[in-house]
Amino acid sequence: MIGRFLWVALVGCGGAPQAVEPGREACLDHSPDRNLYWGDLHVHTSLSFDAWIYDMRLGPDDAYAFAQGEAKMLPPLDASGSPTVQVQLERPLDFAAVTDHSEYLAEVRACTDSSSPAYGTSLCVDYRDGSPASIQTWGSAFVPVDPQRFSAICDLIDCASETRDVWTEVQDAAEQSYDRTSACTFTSFVAYEWSATPNISNLHRNVIFRGSRVPVQPISMFDAPTPDALWDALNASCTDALNGCEVLAIPHNPNQSNGHLFPAEYANKAQAIDVAWREPVVEIFQHKGDSECRTGAFGVSDEACDFEKLRGPEPTEDCGDAPGQGGMAGLGCQHRTDFVRGMLLQGLEIERELGVNPYNKGFIGSSDTHNGTPGAVEEDQFAGHLGRVEGTPEARLELPQLNPGGVRNNPGGLAGVWAVENSRGAIFDAIRRKEVYGTSGPRIAVRMFAAEELPDAICGRADFVPAADTAGVPMGGTLQTSVAPTFAISALMDPGTKRHPGRQLHRIELVKGWVDDSGTHMEVVEVIGTELGQVDEATCEVDGDEEAEIPESGAAHLCAVWTDPNWRAGQDAVYYARVLEQPVCRWSWRDCLSIPEDLRPETCSDPTVAHTIQERAWTSPIQVRER
């Protein structure tokens, strides 16, 4: 416990232990100033029950190959049962984690392997049929607070042993794709998604292991139905039991949790320290929407929060202090902590009471693709994330039903990681110290530092990073200060590719949250900005396009230094930067344009479905405390 506390304190002060990873060559590409690596830490393959059922057949090895640039085929299937849509990343990822649901690994195998004794059960026959009723049956088993496996399958096969076999395949795929040579071209992680969904509230966590030393089987919500039970099991099977086994978990983007993901009450300080240690970052964005903030709810007037809201623009009931239920079905109240701003403020309040902030968390983005396609997050190349359910423009444009998918989903985001090299140890350590950030898809490079004092005109210095490192702390850190904190933020646009150029930057904002005797507060400050760019909605051409006759706007590079004029001694505050791109056509409007006007589905004329969006990056926060 004390060791963990010291770790948290050390990491919070910006100092990070160097990665030492046995069993691999040292990386040639290595920088003490940290390089930027791009990855996806939320990826489902055909091992997940809600991927195979939609005709998706790519496995973990395919997913890792796709992440490294190989072309793969997706549904819909043709008459002979072959997938018909080719997808390929123009720019490979640097790292990825396949995170299949740990629930049903055995059951899916049993239902899809014709030599299995359970293959002929009606449960399996219906599953292979892929009917909505079948997905409801399989999904419903998640809902009780004491979930049980299907006895119709697990009485016929040894589900525990079958799970271990599939888990071995998951580990093998990760091992095969991990580049242990000095080239360090690609890093994979052994991982899975623990998917507890009591009363249809999303409590999912992606469990990520640092190395190849992992427990003999993944923990599912059948084995451990609550977060505490998950961690007891992870401690018993990994941290406390297995030399060299290290693990962290990333809470799913919280917008469907009805207030259950980040509770307000902690029994004691030790429990809060544990939570801060176990789950250093949270997923701020993925294909099931944005979880930063919600305009018009929880006291938020920030218009930029009106971005990729899974539940649409209609106001939802505020849970107040009583968490609700039904979130994963688009039902129930929403809680302030369903968005990370509320989580940050809740953390500050708990810290005032307990002296420890369990929600001192960083941010990452990921895709949550159920197509085995990590990093397929480009707005202008979206081929869906859910097999046949999102396999065509018409299918993607449907209004969301109880089943996932539909026009309010999006292509998901990416995790940007500032790590000394591209190895498991270095990436894992960067996540631990929260020097990571999320984007809604674009590869915007952004650095943020905070210090009591920064060198003069640091935006005009080539040694920006070492100078800022010396003066203060990077994103994810905690600044102890006796004066008003100063922030330096430098951002570069996503250059894109020749075929699909990136979009220029529009503005950088700093979001500040703080708590004082009068309660919690939040403000948004624009620290540097440019004119808003334009999009021709008839063609999706933007200013700066070679063909478009629209004057160019925006910037390839923005840098700003800002000192908080309102910081007061004794004020516990948290700050993160939001970097917005100039607008582009949303994926759904591009799909609409691909369909003849008279055949377009209703959602193409629904005013609540945006035609254009401003994609963005969110840095991990820096916490500021009085020294």
Partner: protein, 253 residues
């Protein structure tokens, strides 16, 4: 002198009989209808299995527990086999089939390449395994947001840097990506774009050169380059075996 008679409690014959009966009794109690024995190999395997899962060797008490559990299960297993419980069980059938398939793959000499075969495969497919070269360089970036003509600005910097002008250490704007250090050539292209990657690969060593990246204009100086190379077989053995087997599978009749 007649030896004094022993008390009956110290009679060796009695104790031998008692010990013998005890041994017999324990053996009788432990053995079921079918008796199992623990070989030294199995004992070692149990230890290794424990170590694989727990990351340490078992204590004596744990080892006794493992062995006792194995013996009990083994006795039940053998009795089950004797009664024919394995016959007609689809789970057993499936596991045996899986094991046979694995065994066939492992034992078949045509599926186990030796060192020479792997080296030959690596050489034949070297494009697939080449490790990119590296360049050590530093760069200064002129932000279009801060300079009206960034290209002219970096040209001016290049001249002054070449002459160690006193102001030159301060040239360059805050650039989020690394401004110095060793980088692999494929990462340079990913990070800065093809044009700057080309410039880094061609620039004369130790001289300041002007180059354009995806973000605008830079002045850069390369101090060292290492060429691309083939990795050793040992560094990528598992991957090579897997790829070699895939090729064998494709050419097999």
């Amino acid at each position: 002198m007649q030896a004094p008679s022993r008390p009956w409690r110290r009679e060796p014959m009695l104790w031998c009989s008692v010990i013998g009966l005890l041994f017999f009794g324990v053996d009788w109690a432990l053995s079921g209808p079918v008796q199992a024995t623990l070989s030294s190999e199995m004992s070692m395997a149990l230890d290794q299995d424990f170590e694989r899962i727990q990351g340490r060797t078992p204590t004596d008490a744990e080892r006794r527990g493992l062995q006792q559990r194995w013996l009990s299960e083994e006795a039940l297993y053998r009795e089950g086999l004797r009664l024919g419980l394995d016959r007609g069980d689809p789970v057993v059938r499936r596991r045996v089939v899986q094991k046979m398939q694995q065994l066939q793959t492992a034992q078949d000499p045509t599926w186990t390449p030796d060192e020479t075969m792997l080296l030959d495969y690596l050489t034949r497919h070297q494009d697939r395994y080449l490790v990119a070269g590296t360049a050590t360089f530093e760069q200064r970036y002129a932000s279009p947001d801060r300079h009206p003509d960034p290209q002219a600005e970096v040209r001016r910097w290049a001249l002054l840097l070449a002459n160690d002008h006193p102001e030159s250490p301060g040239f360059g704007d805050a650039f989020a990506l690394a401004h110095r250090g060793v980088q692999s050539t494929n990462q340079i292209e990913r990070r800065y774009g093809a044009r700057l990657a080309l410039a880094v690969s061609e620039a004369p060593l130790d001289e300041w050169t002007v180059a354009e990246s995806s973000y605008g204009w830079h002045v850069l100086r390369v101090t060292e380059r290492t060429p691309q190379r083939l990795p050793t077989v040992s560094a990528i053995r598992d991957k090579l075996i897997e790829d070699w087997r895939a090729e064998q599978g494709q050419v097999a009749p």
